[in-house]
């Protein structure tokens, strides 16, 4: 018993003591960095990049922490309250507006070289900007489209659109589904990645609203969702989606193998699936834009971006790290690992996948020509996303679309009112 007590005391002391870390060498800046622990290849790449960066110069030494993706926001919020944010951190771009509003981020436009900012895709600048300031830049952007097998489409004599402006209309798309279903065992021919976690639904299906002329929220002042999210355009669009779901056209994809095992002909998915799908079907795999619900095809964009904590003592050093990660070679190393769209024109030009004529060039076109819509740039986004996600789940489960969207719009409006319209408090 006595031994036990002593060991306890010892442990508590040890636990209290561990905040002391080895002192860095004189002249070297220790930079704490957080990144998300994504796919293994992504993680290995960033580890290599950090290692290389630390070796090639002495002024800055990065200490890197990986944080699981699903709990990332909770982590950041917790650290922010504790005043324990790292100098440099990665985060999913829709949270940027919330973090910026809460005053955790430093504007980047004066910290990053002007030429670098010029080279970035316009979509990257657009999504990273809140209230006129750039708070986050990504080294890559995401792409969302329909993956299909050319042979199957040809079998049912489908038209194959190559550019967003040629996208299938929703009627054409639904007829195509019906024709494909005839050829299929169980009639489920479409994969909507229903197995995916939370953010997917806002990311992948808010373009449906926008393509129909609706949206998640009124973007003129970001004060209300009512009349937009539950407006006629949004409701009609989501009724189409509900139709696919309830008539058995959609595979539940619990095993995440609906497309690669050939169970479905079409997969509504992101750039990250390219490698696996290509492995399964080779050159039979093609990419087509999402269907047009009336106002032209729209698609999602945005991915993980880098930002600098307002409390960082060495923001200039943190910016140097961002600049390093945005070098074409580094961008390509990362996009090679995760298949994403490179963030700069220079890098895209060097990418066999994304350069004109490359199999994924459609993603670049969507981002560069304005078919991709960033998620609403408001601090209310976490609630908007949670509400829409709930609505999508309800719609999937058969709740009338109008009712599901009314409920979501009301929840969003209530939140905005609770926060007095999210007034600007944290001046940049």
């Amino acid at each position: 018993m006595r031994i036990l007590l002593i060991s306890l005391a010892f442990v508590f002391l040890a636990a209290c003591d561990r905040s002391e870390q080895p002192k860095p060498e004189a002249g070297t800046v220790q930079l704490s960095v957080w990144a998300h622990a994504g796919q293994a290849s992504e993680r290995r790449t960033i580890e290599r990049q950090v290692q290389a960066f630390n070796q090639q110069q002495d002024a800055i030494q990065i200490s890197m922490t990986f944080i699981p993706e699903r709990s990332y926001n909770a982590q950041v919020q917790a650290a922010a309250i504790a005043g324990a944010l790292p100098d440099l951190l990665e985060f999913d771009v829709p949270y940027l507006y919330n973090y910026a509003w809460q005053g955790h981020l430093l504007p980047l436009e004066t910290l990053l070289p002007h030429s670098l900012q010029q080279d970035l895709l316009p979509s990257i600048i657009k999504q990273g900007t809140y209230q006129g300031h750039l708070y986050g830049v990504g080294t890559f952007d995401s792409g969302l489209a329909l993956y299909a097998r050319r042979s199957l489409l040809q079998k049912v004599n489908a038209r194959i659109p190559l550019h967003p402006k040629q996208a299938w209309s929703v009627q054409e798309f639904e007829q195509l589904l019906d024709r494909l279903a005839v050829e299929d065992d169980d009639g489920a021919v479409l994969d909507l990645k229903l197995n995916y976690p939370d953010e997917w639904f806002s990311y992948a299906f808010s373009p449906v609203l926008q393509s129909a002329g609706g949206d998640l929220i009124d973007r003129s002042d970001y004060q209300t969702a009512s009349g937009v999210l539950n407006g006629a355009a949004s409701v009609t669009a989501m009724q189409h989606v509900q139709g696919w779901l309830t008539t058995g056209r959609v595979d539940p994809n619990v095993d995440d193998a609906a497309f690669v095992t050939g169970r479905v002909a079409l997969s509504w998915a992101g750039h990250w699936e390219y490698r696996r799908y290509h492995e399964a079907f080779g050159d039979d795999l093609i990419l087509v834009p999402l269907p047009d619900f009336g106002r032209g095809s729209r698609t999602g964009q945005g991915s993980w971006v880098w930002g600098i904590s307002r409390h960082s003592a060495v923001p200039d050093k943190a910016a140097e790290v961002i600049a390093y990660l945005l070098r074409p070679a580094q961008i390509l190393a990362m996009t090679e690992a995760n298949g994403a769209v490179p963030a700069t024109h220079t890098a895209i030009a060097q990418s066999p996948l994304y350069q004109p004529g490359g199999p994924l060039h459609l993603f670049v076109v969507q981002l560069a020509e304005g078919y991709a819509v960033p998620r609403p740039r408001t601090p209310a986004y976490p609630v908007i996303s949670a509400s829409f996600r709930q609505a999508f789940a309800d719609i999937r489960d058969g709740l009338p679309v109008q009712q599901a969207l009314d409920r979501a719009a009301a929840a969003i409006d209530e939140d905005i009112r609770d926060n007095r319209g999210y007034p600007s408090i944290a001046a940049p």
Partner: protein, 294 residues
């Protein structure tokens, strides 16, 4: 002197635990009560305001929350008796001199040692929809092909029972161990006496086993009730409260509010209601137990 010494010794003995409970449970809970009357949001730069009972009024107008209350109630009403009966059956089967008992006991207990997060993931696979899903193909097999494949976790009528099944599977072993221990503490003479009095197998069970096991059963059911009220992880991982709130629970709503929507105040209000409900249930159960004893 002995008296005074005892007073301080008692307090000193209890002090570390009391201090721990005070700092890490009581104070946060009191804070929750305070927060439930505000509109505090996690990380918001806006100062929180006192909003009176707004959070509570909103909660009771919210279908998701009222459905959560109902689901918790259903879950408890079904799981507590079913799980207890299953555990009792297992314990009775094991309370006999048979070879390999320790092995069976360990097998039945095994699900208990699996963290819920892991258990839930495995069961998602078991409930996979379509004819290839494990449970679907199993049911297809035993109904000789009459089973129509279902999407268990997205069927408003089946999702909650599916979660119940998972929970029962996971929890029955624990109850079994306790009940088995209770069974083994029943004196053999009682059975011998009953046998001499001409009691058959069922009568011995009904007139000896059950009454002797009564306190154990009450204990087991009380603990299970409290645990069922905390139902959260299975829902979080398997259904996220869906379909159409068919599986949402009080704890799930609380965690959603506080962490997903950053509405700390709403989460706090749910916590307060939760506490009141469980307190009520516990008191009720204690009273019932006491009355029966008289």
């Amino acid at each position: 002197m002995p008296q005074r010494a005892l007073i301080s010794a008692g307090l000193l003995f209890a002090l570390p635990a009391l201090a721990g409970l005070l700092i890490f449970v009581a104070v946060p809970f009191l804070l929750s009560i305070g927060l439930s009357f505000t509109n505090l949001r996690l990380g918001s730069p806006l100062a929180p305001e006192f909003v009176g009972l707004t959070q509570f009024v909103r909660l009771f107008a919210d279908d998701a929350f009222t459905r959560a209350l109902l689901n918790n109630l259903l879950f408890t009403i079904v799981v507590v008796p079913v799980q207890t009966l299953l555990a009792l059956g297992l314990a009775l089967l094991l309370n006999q001199p048979l070879r390999g008992l320790a092995l069976f006991r360990t097998l039945f207990f095994m699900p208990v040692v699996f963290p819920l997060a892991l258990v839930s993931v495995v069961w998602i696979l078991i409930y996979a929809p379509g004819p290839d899903g494990m449970l679907n193909s199993f049911l297809h097999l035993i109904t000789l092909g009459h089973w129509v494949p279902r999407d268990f976790l997205h069927d408003p009528w089946l999702a909650l029972p599916a979660i119940m099944l998972t929970s029962i599977w996971q929890g029955a072993g624990f109850q079994m161990v306790i009940l088995l221990a209770g069974l083994q503490s029943i004196p053999e003479e009682l059975y011998e006496a009953a046998r001499i009095d001409g009691a058959g197998r069922w009568q011995r069970f009904w007139f000896i086993t059950l009454p002797q096991l009564r306190n154990t059963l009450i204990f087991v059911m009380l603990v299970t009730t409290i645990l069922t009220f905390r139902l959260f992880e299975q829902v979080q991982i398997m259904t996220r409260g869906g379909p159409r709130h068919a599986t949402t629970t009080i704890m799930y709503e609380a965690v959603q509010a506080a962490f997903s929507r950053q509405q700390v105040a709403k989460g706090a209000a749910i916590t307060v209601i939760f506490f009141l409900i469980v307190l009520l249930v516990t008191l009720l159960q204690r009273r019932l137990a006491r009355q029966e004893r008289l």
